[in-house]
């Protein structure tokens, strides 16, 4: 088990190198730092001195890959590639283009993201599984047919409309809770609508997905046996099917667990929650490439962690699977 985890983690290294190469090419080769400087300082009437100064303040004045002016190991370390890309491996994100410490921002903003994402995930999971069980229980009846159609209808509404509609209804018409904003002390008040909306917008696709899992499980032999020995349908559903269906459900959840840190882009920015999602959006809007780069790296690391966790969770919930 331990050797498997170590081996899988080693596999992650070439992937992360690949990710960093892609971001390096995108951010520094496709457009030179000069282009970025001009973009930031305004396109017209930029003096070369101002461009140089902008680059120097952010350390983009170094050569791309090999610094022929330096000696020894500095030949490779005093370069953009080393300073801005290789250092990410040590989780040294450096400073944003606006001058703030990215690592500090990330640790600060992680918590609001988690406070929003974790309850949304748990409540959403419970709600979706309940609905899916209900629909699966009445399979091949009108409840099932119309339930699935309702799911498709709910899926067809853009997530933005859920947010706009929910904000309007709960915040503006009913005046129940503040529309947006955040405050660590009474976070509950601010998180109620985002969580509710997050859950509702996921019902369509979630219920449909879990329904297919349940139906797939229902065709298996052990279910037929359970029915043949005279168990009531509810008992079959809750005791046999639910238990076995938990394997694909749990492993599906484990993949997304690490990514919860990244927060939700849209929800956070609509509700003004200072999490990592709105951090990313702000960075995109202000064209702060240093932050975008860091978030790309962080996201990939978390994704790979999720994959490894999935494999491990397979063995934990399903004793038939052995990792080698």
């Amino acid at each position: 088990m331990l050797s498997y985890i170590v081996r899988r983690s080693l596999y992650a290294i070439p992937i992360l190198i690949g990710v960093n190469l892609i971001t390096f090419i995108l951010f520094f080769v496709v457009n030179t730092p000069d282009d970025m400087a001009r973009m930031h300082l305004g396109m017209k009437r930029v003096t070369p001195e101002a461009v140089e100064q902008w680059k120097q303040e952010r350390g983009y004045d170094r050569p791309l890959v090999i610094n022929s002016a330096a000696d020894g190991s500095d030949k490779f370390t005093e370069t953009i590639f080393f300073q801005n890309t290789v250092k990410l491996f040590a989780f040294d994100f450096g400073r944003s283009d606006a001058g703030r410490d990215i690592s500090f921002d990330i640790t600060e903003r992680m918590w609001p993201s988690l406070m929003l994402a974790v309850p949304s995930l748990i409540i959403g999971l419970l709600v979706n599984i309940t609905f899916a069980l209900l629909v699966a229980f009445f399979r091949a009846s009108y409840i099932d047919v119309w339930g699935v159609i309702l799911c498709v209808v709910l899926m067809s509404i853009s997530g933005m409309f859920y947010i706009i509609g929910g904000q309007f209804l709960l915040g503006k018409v009913l005046h129940l809770v503040p529309i947006s904003g955040f405050d660590m002390q009474n976070a509950f008040k601010f998180l109620v609508i985002p969580v509710i909306i997050g859950v509702i917008s996921g019902i369509g696709s979630g219920t449909r997905w879990y329904r297919t899992i349940f139906l797939e499980e229902m065709e298996k032999d052990y279910v037929r046996t359970a029915r043949a020995k005279g168990l009531p349908e509810t008992l079959v559903l809750f005791k046999h099917i639910l238990k076995n269906a938990m394997i694909p459900i749990l492993t599906g959840v484990v993949v997304v667990l690490p990514l919860l840190f990244m927060g939700s882009l849209i929800t956070e920015s609509f509700f003004g929650i200072p999490g990592l999602g709105s951090y990313t959006i702000d960075a995109i809007n202000s064209q702060d490439f240093a932050i975008v780069r860091s978030m790309v790296f962080l996201g990939s690391v978390l994704y790979i962690v999720g994959l490894i966790l999935t494999d491990i969770s397979y063995t934990m919930v399903d004793p038939r699977i052995r990792l080698q």
């Binding site: 992937i15 690949g18 853009s158 995109i284 809007n285």
Partner: protein, 499 residues
């Protein structure tokens, strides 16, 4: 439907359209403009037609399609989709009109307007050019905001001024408007009914020719659904769509039926123009990367070994970057690149289109990995099948086996992936535009429409119509696409077919 696919009209119609198009260009002195996405759309239409013709001759492909045709919800949504596609195609034929005679220079060359128009723009000219000053509600005759108005007797007052175009034909809007709308709606419904009857007549006459039987017999065949095709559902949906079209034809030139936006542009016009953007993103994104996804996927599954390792590494790496961030990074870079190279594009439309094209490519790059993985798994399974092993034993080359035996057997997965991805991509466009990495801000799209309207929610009275318009148009398209893709999946997925 077999008799339809063999009909000579399918050869004559495209030729006729091209002749009309070329003739129109020649007579008006306009210059055809082929945007990048236009060309891809034409290629797409062509390949879909070829695919349809080739699958009409193959029983194993015809059978699942027959199942789709019998699917009631699937066919109803297909009608809606086809109308969207029709509007999208009309909006994909672009040209630049010649400048007025007095603005021409002395030499022989004709100068053209810098504005790129499409056939759809010409068809809906009234709502394209009727700009108000700022916001106005649907069917309003007065502006949304108060202004100082000077009356004919010289007095001034702060009041809601009349709109320049919306309800401008009415003397006293408060009294006449309701009656006028009712009359116009009735005319619109009648026009819709006429269009619908004409289409129905063509279908019945088609049956008459095919079976060489009487009109009343075939009328019965169509409306009792004894042909196996759910004509009642299809024609019912078509009737609703025709009614909506008729209403739009009579009401839109006289009123802003979905209001106007901040700069006074008709929201209904914007929603119509957004259709092409949505369709292009939904289809081209998958199709641009499709050849790569199919080739790499089946190569990885069939050749195994180092080929498999490399391809797996490739898609795991791409997959591990969060999609939105990769798109954001790439779009930001393209933005910088285009800002630094403004000379590449002759007109604004071409620049916006280039950005749309790149967005499709990037969306394709982030979404091909899932399909590639599926195909790899399927090819792994297929490589152990008897007929593949037999070909190997006979010494058939690897690529030939891939093309002859593996590729045709994974095509159903590809087809299902295309239709399933479509609605997700249409929805993604709205989110990306919100994040600021979507289509060009000057391009009409539902994302931009929502984005512009979002900030107006705080106004009192609330400006809701842009959101409503984006909601209706997007919802109808995505719902139809979802329902249709379910029908296609049910028909083509062998695991579901058994049940």
């Amino acid at each position: 439907m077999k008799f339809l696919s063999r009909h000579p009209i399918f050869i004559l119609l495209p030729i006729l359209l091209i002749v009309v198009w070329a003739g129109g260009l020649y007579l008006s002195g306009a210059k055809a403009v082929f945007l990048w996405t236009d060309v891809l759309v034409y290629i797409l239409v062509l390949s879909i037609s070829l695919f349809a013709i080739s699958s009409a001759n193959k029983e194993h492909l015809r059978d699942p399609w027959r199942q789709v045709v019998r699917h009631k919800l699937g066919m109803a949504s297909l009608v809606v989709l086809l109308i969207y596609v029709l509007i999208g195609l009309l909006d994909s034929v672009h040209f630049r009109l010649a400048l007025d005679a007095d603005k021409q220079t002395a030499n022989q060359e004709i100068n053209h307007e810098s504005e790129v128009l499409s056939v759809l723009d010409i068809l809906v000219t009234p709502i394209r050019v009727q700009y108000e000053k700022t916001y106005s509600a649907p069917f309003a005759s007065h502006l949304y905001a108060k202004e100082t108005v000077e009356h004919s007797d010289g007095t001034r007052a702060r009041e809601f001024p009349r709109l320049e175009f919306g309800g401008a034909h009415l003397q006293d809007p408060d009294k006449e408007k309701f009656g006028d709308i009712a009359v116009k709606s009735f005319t619109g419904l009648m026009i819709g009914l006429v269009i619908w009857s004409a289409i129905t007549l063509v279908i019945i006459l088609g049956y008459c020719r095919h079976y060489r039987s009487s009109f009343s017999e075939n009328l019965n065949l169509v409306f009792s659904e004894s042909s196996g095709i759910p004509w009642r559902v299809i024609l019912g949906t078509l009737l609703v769509m025709c009614f909506l079209m008729g209403l739009a034809i009579t009401l839109a030139p006289n009123y802003h039926i979905l209001g106007t936006d901040k700069v006074g542009q008709d929201v209904f016009f914007q929603s119509l123009k957004s259709i092409r953007t949505g369709l292009v993103i939904g289809t081209l994104s998958t199709l641009i990367m499709l050849p790569f996804a199919v080739m790499l996927g089946i190569m990885a599954g069939y050749f195994k070994g180092w080929v498999d390792d490399v391809i797996q590494y490739l898609y795991t790496t791409l997959n591990s970057i969060p999609g939105v961030l990769l798109i954001a990074a790439a779009v930001l870079m393209i933005q910088v690149y285009m800002a630094n190279n403004p000379e590449m594009f002759e007109t604004d439309a071409e620049r916006a289109d280039a950005r749309l094209f790149f967005l499709c490519v990037i969306l394709g790059i982030t979404s091909w990995t899932g399909l590639c993985r599926l195909l790899r798994g399927e090819a792994l399974k297929l490589s152990a099948v008897d007929y593949v092993q037999a070909s190997q034993a006979f010494g058939v080359s690897g690529f030939k086996i891939l093309w002859r035996h593996i590729q045709p057997n994974v095509m159903h997965i590809v087809l299902i992936a295309i239709v399933l991805d479509f609605s997700g991509l249409v929805l993604a466009e709205a989110v990306l535009s919100y994040v600021g990495v979507g289509v060009d801000p000057t391009m009409h799209s539902w994302g931009n429409l929502i984005n512009g309207a979002r900030l107006e929610m705080a106004r009192e009275p609330i400006v809701w119509w842009s959101l409503l318009a984006a909601f209706i148009f997007m919802f109808a398209l995505v719902l139809a696409a979802n329902l249709f893709s379910d029908a296609v999946r049910d028909a083509f997925d062998p695991r579901l077919r058994k049940q």
